[in-house]
């Protein structure tokens, strides 16, 4: 629904690592209720851009606006406060803790210093049910879960703080088809909840299945913005620089 004002806007954002131009004057807008896919070759700047939005990397220049107001995102905690939640390629989850503990890791519910375990368990069950996640038990230690289930825990984790923007970096890499199907269905669910989603992926089938818009990055620069109905061939041409 691009008729509404964007929830996130990046304007002329640049980030250099020495001589490496990771991002050069990159623009990106994201609306509520929209899935924007970021695609590009290795080193195109996708993950750098995700890290800028998540507060992990500070841009060298350029502006970031959330809800039309210019902001700086100096840390992941600051990103959380601004309503940005992120899931990176290797989700930071703890193997020995159960599903509930992982979902609430660092954001535990407590009242006067006492953890509200029952409420967290209930909330985790509700979150997983809303995402139609197939995880039988919320007290299962994480090491017993499949890759797809872990990804689901990582996504459920992002919803605890009621964010408005979710950044997913390669959420379907190394998943089976059924697990990919589940993750794509969660992404549709996030969009239905009215969130803006930035989806980074190499797989154009997955991207075109759930995205509203595809933004191509090439050598750290914008290389075109396409509706998700654009053909494979055209997207690949933009990714490789054939156009």
């Amino acid at each position: 629904m691009s008729a509404r004002s964007p929830v996130l806007a990046l304007r002329k954002v640049s980030r250099y690592f020495g001589a490496v131009e990771a991002l050069v004057d990159v623009d990106l807008t994201l609306h509520p209720h929209e899935v924007v896919a970021l695609v590009g070759d290795n080193g195109a700047g996708k993950s750098t851009l995700a890290k800028v939005v998540a507060g992990v990397l500070a841009p060298d220049s350029g502006q970031i606006e959330i809800d039309g107001e210019q902001v700086t995102i100096p840390s992941p905690a600051a990103a959380n406060r601004l309503g940005v939640a992120s899931v990176f390629q290797e989700p930071a989850l703890l193997e020995n803790l159960d599903v509930t503990a992982n979902v609430f890791l660092g954001q535990e519910m407590a009242r006067s210093g006492v953890l509200r375990e029952d409420e967290m368990v209930e909330r985790t069950r509700a979150l997983l049910r809303n995402l139609t996640v197939r995880i039988p038990a919320v007290d299962t230690p994480l090491r017993h879960l499949s890759a797809g289930q872990r990804q689901a825990v990582a996504i459920a984790r992002t919803l605890v703080g009621s964010p408005r923007i979710v950044v997913l970096d390669e959420p379907t890499a190394a998943l089976s088809v059924a697990q990919t199907a589940e993750v794509l269905t969660y992404i549709e669910g996030l969009r239905d909840l009215g969130l803006g989603v930035i989806l980074i992926s190499h797989n154009l089938n997955d991207v075109r299945a759930v995205a509203d818009r595809v933004e191509v990055l090439r050598l750290g620069r914008n290389n075109g913005s396409f509706p998700a109905t654009t053909s494979h061939e055209q997207l690949i041409a933009a990714i490789t620089g054939a156009v």
């Binding site: 629904m1 691009s2 008729a3 509404r4 609306h31 209720h33 929209e34 197939r134 039988p136 038990a137 919320v138 007290d139 299962t140 017993h144 089976s176 088809v177 059924a178 990919t180 199907a181 589940e182 794509l184 269905t185 992404i187 549709e188 239905d192 154009l204 089938n205 991207v207 075109r208 299945a209 759930v210 509203d212 818009r213 509706p227 998700a228 109905t229 053909s231």
Partner: protein, 399 residues
């Protein structure tokens, strides 16, 4: 109190059954976690339900340990239903009594291609069987619904161009080669009609029309209790009836087809200026949320489709018209103007009994149920169920 004790036990039992249905198969330990009940209660309930022949228990391995996998009890023989949509794939494994044991939905890209999508179908079926702890040899057959006219003899799309990327693809053959199981293919609206007439809203009607209004429009025509396919399987393709002689060129090559006016692309295009980029699911949701623009659009679509169906119904004189597909999920927003167009056709209304227009009884599941029915029609499990001692025959003849 004894009364509340037994109702509590009943509620716990229901929780356990629901958890098993949701996950396909669970170990007892997982069941305890999923329901919040104690292991002891789970053990008791599972024992009761196994005795009641509602659950099956089989040995499995979880996290390197032996465990007991609890599944819904199923009759010998499983069947798989596959619904290929324009933007979504639905794959399910059920037993011969239509009880769905495991199911997975997957969003698909616009204009997805046959090779990638059929590969996903094959892998999903394998994964679902795995979730149930069963092997491929328990699967009796696979029924596939395609959003295009299908030639029953070859099991492939019979009209070029209407389903991009699927022309000349021998769907049944591709899947049989991958999975070594019999595969039966039909059009989605035909399968919806089959399901509605056996399990849904047209059960009592011998002559009925099922209209599916989603990304495109299609119809399944039931005559004398059988789906009327036509010589090449294109019967009921009302999405390609001309409604605007000066309209756009359709994917089929003709001008001004119904699909160019009320198909997904046309609907979303009409909203682009006012609403930005939407999906068909958004339109349905917004129409249900009283968004005036989406409501007008869906209402007009209801009237346009209604005019075409009124003509089709005049030709066939059905007892009942059943409306399904995504747009039907807007309820009366679509159905009201649709019904009005049918009622304007005096031949249909003055006849006794007049034709009756109802919403689909199976909703989004109609095509899946139809795909399951299609397989069950072709295999012999029914005879074994009737008590005739016939082992399930291996199916030699493929579509």
């Amino acid at each position: 109190m004894a009364g509340s004790q037994s109702s509590l036990r009943e509620a716990n039992r229901a929780r356990v059954v629901e958890a098993v249905k949701r996950h396909g198969g669970l170990t007892q330990v997982e069941l305890a976690g999923a329901t919040g009940l104690s292991q002891a209660s789970i053990s008791t309930i599972v024992k009761e339900l196994v005795a009641a022949e509602l659950f099956d228990v089989r040995n499995t391995v979880r996290s390197g340990r032996r465990a007991q996998l609890v599944t819904l009890a199923h009759q010998t023989g499983l069947v798989s239903g596959v619904v290929v949509g324009r933007r979504q794939l639905r794959v399910a494994v059920a037993d011969v009594s239509h009880e769905v044991l495991a199911e997975q939905v997957m969003p698909l890209a616009d204009a997805h291609r046959a090779d990638t999508s059929l590969d996903r179908v094959a892998l999903l079926i394998v994964e679902l069987l795995d979730r149930l702890g069963t092997a491929m040899d328990e699967l009796q057959g696979i029924g596939v619904a395609l959003p295009a006219p299908v030639d029953a003899a070859t099991g492939q799309v019979s009209v070029r161009g209407v389903l991009r990327g699927w022309d000349n693809v021998p769907v049944a053959q591709v899947l049989t080669k991958r999975l070594a199981r019999p595969v039966f293919v039909d059009n989605d609206a035909n399968l919806g009609a089959l399901a509605e007439s056996t399990l849904g809203a047209a059960r009592e009607a011998r002559d009925a029309i099922y209209v599916r209004v989603g990304h495109g429009v299609g119809a399944g025509i039931m005559l004398g209790g059988r789906v009327h396919r036509g010589v090449a399987g294109t019967a009921g393709e009302i999405g390609h009836v001309q409604v605007d002689p000066a309209g756009r060129i359709c994917s089929c090559g003709s001008r001004g087809c119904l699909n160019t006016v009320v198909g997904e692309e046309a609907l979303l295009e009409a909203l682009r200026t006012s609403h930005g980029s939407l999906t068909l699911r958004d339109v349905v949701r917004l129409a249900n949320d009283d968004d005036p623009g989406c409501r007008s659009l869906v209402r007009d679509a209801g009237a346009t489709v209604g005019r075409v169906v009124a003509n089709v119904a005049t030709a066939f004189n059905p007892e009942r018209i059943v409306v399904g597909g995504e747009l039907a999920e807007t309820g009366d927003v679509f159905l009201e103007p649709f019904r009005e167009m049918i009622q304007r056709q005096s031949v249909l209304q003055q006849a006794e009994p007049p034709v009756d227009v109802v919403a689909s009884g199976l909703g989004a599941r109609a095509e899946l149920e139809g795909a399951l029915s299609l397989v069950l029609q072709h295999i012999d499990v029914f005879e074994t169920r009737e008590g005739v001692a016939l082992p399930p025959q291996p199916q030699e003849e493929l579509l």
